[in-house]
Symmetry: C2
Subunit: 228 residues, 2 copies
Amino acid sequence: MSHGWETIRADVLRRIQAREWGPGATIPSEEALSREFGCARATVGRALRDLAATGVLERRRKAGTRVALQPVRRATLEIPVIRQEVEGRGQTYAYRLLADVMEQPPLPVLLRLRLPAGVALRHLTCLHSAVGQPFVYEDRWLNPAVLGGQRPDFAAQSANEWLVANMPYTAGDIAFSAAGAGADDAAAFGIDPGTPLFIVERTTWTADTVITCVRLAYMPGYRLRMTL
Amino acid sequence: MSHGWETIRADVLRRIQAREWGPGATIPSEEALSREFGCARATVGRALRDLAATGVLERRRKAGTRVALQPVRRATLEIPVIRQEVEGRGQTYAYRLLADVMEQPPLPVLLRLRLPAGVALRHLTCLHSAVGQPFVYEDRWLNPAVLGGQRPDFAAQSANEWLVANMPYTAGDIAFSAAGAGADDAAAFGIDPGTPLFIVERTTWTADTVITCVRLAYMPGYRLRMTL
DNA sequence: TACGCAAATATGTCTGCACATAATCCTGCC
DNA sequence: GGCAGGATTATGTGCAGACATATTTGCGTA
């Protein structure tokens, strides 16, 4: 009857979609299902665990497995390096460093990085282009301590790429918003101040040290797409 | 030594972060690791599979398991019903239906829904408020066929909530962008046209039928946050 | 009635084993 | 040297059984 746990997952999902098991209903136990499908309990468990991970099912010991009442839509967003995003669309990518200075960051940045006042950080601004057109204007604050003696050439390699290669597997958070172009943004893109721009702000850190805090302003009209 | 596959996952991750196994390096086989950890191969497999799912490892049969060279950042975004998003912050939620008519959608909507020209859809506009302030202005096109004889009262229950309850587990895509407030948006929020707004556009369908296509305009200053 | 403890139960995890599958590696032939 | 095809090998999946753990349920008692 079945070739594999994916078949079982598909069948369970089908029954849910067909309302055979309605929202909130408790579905049969792993044991019962394994008898029905003629396979081991572990195999059913694998299928149900996967559906629970995507939010379709909710499982609790002893209480059993039930169809989620308000299925939370979960979407996984893959955040590529900007170079890859551009080249993945078959366009030519270019990068230019605009500024690289040590200075004290403004208060909001300090708060987000949980740093005391008076600390100086490396402040980088740069421009990513696709097909010669400005694509993303980047404004980054970097903790110089993470360089650890190395002196990467941020004019040649973007800080983002250096970080993925040298400080990978970090924790962080990310926020999306819309904002009117500031003076810097307007100059970078050659547009009027106030033009709506899509903004991404990221903060990353390891267990003990803050690494970087970056604001990315995307070209007017940019859309970030993902699949549910 | 080990209490469970999560311990093993943590230890493997630690070694990767400590550069014991650098980016691109092939790590020992499941067999070797299971001997080292003193557990069954399946247990190691579970840990490595999980790390592969989060993008830290790349696995291929026969080739073995290697540390991802360019670890793709994956973030999982949970998309809540707007009511839950507001109430989850301890704020009072209110909903008001502004319009509900049958009409022919504009071309971009038809294209996204892959419908032929001339089809009429149900066009709903409504406003979600938090603490009495406009929070989201919603502009939705709904395929009337999915109602299937039911006549939900969209003045009392938002179309979104009706859909999660009655047409759950659908496929779809979602896009984020920034746009200047149009006339409708400006009227809904009481702001100047052109004010930058955060826009979410969603299209959902089942295997065979298109369900709905919605544009959500969030209040000025809204930030969508997620954790890496 | 209310409360607390014990039994029952469904999921969570682990073990050991087996076979399937996909790549790579290597050998031998041309 | 180059190529085809088989041997090798690491992961992918499955099975059966066992024990761990979290809850619920129900029973007995205050």
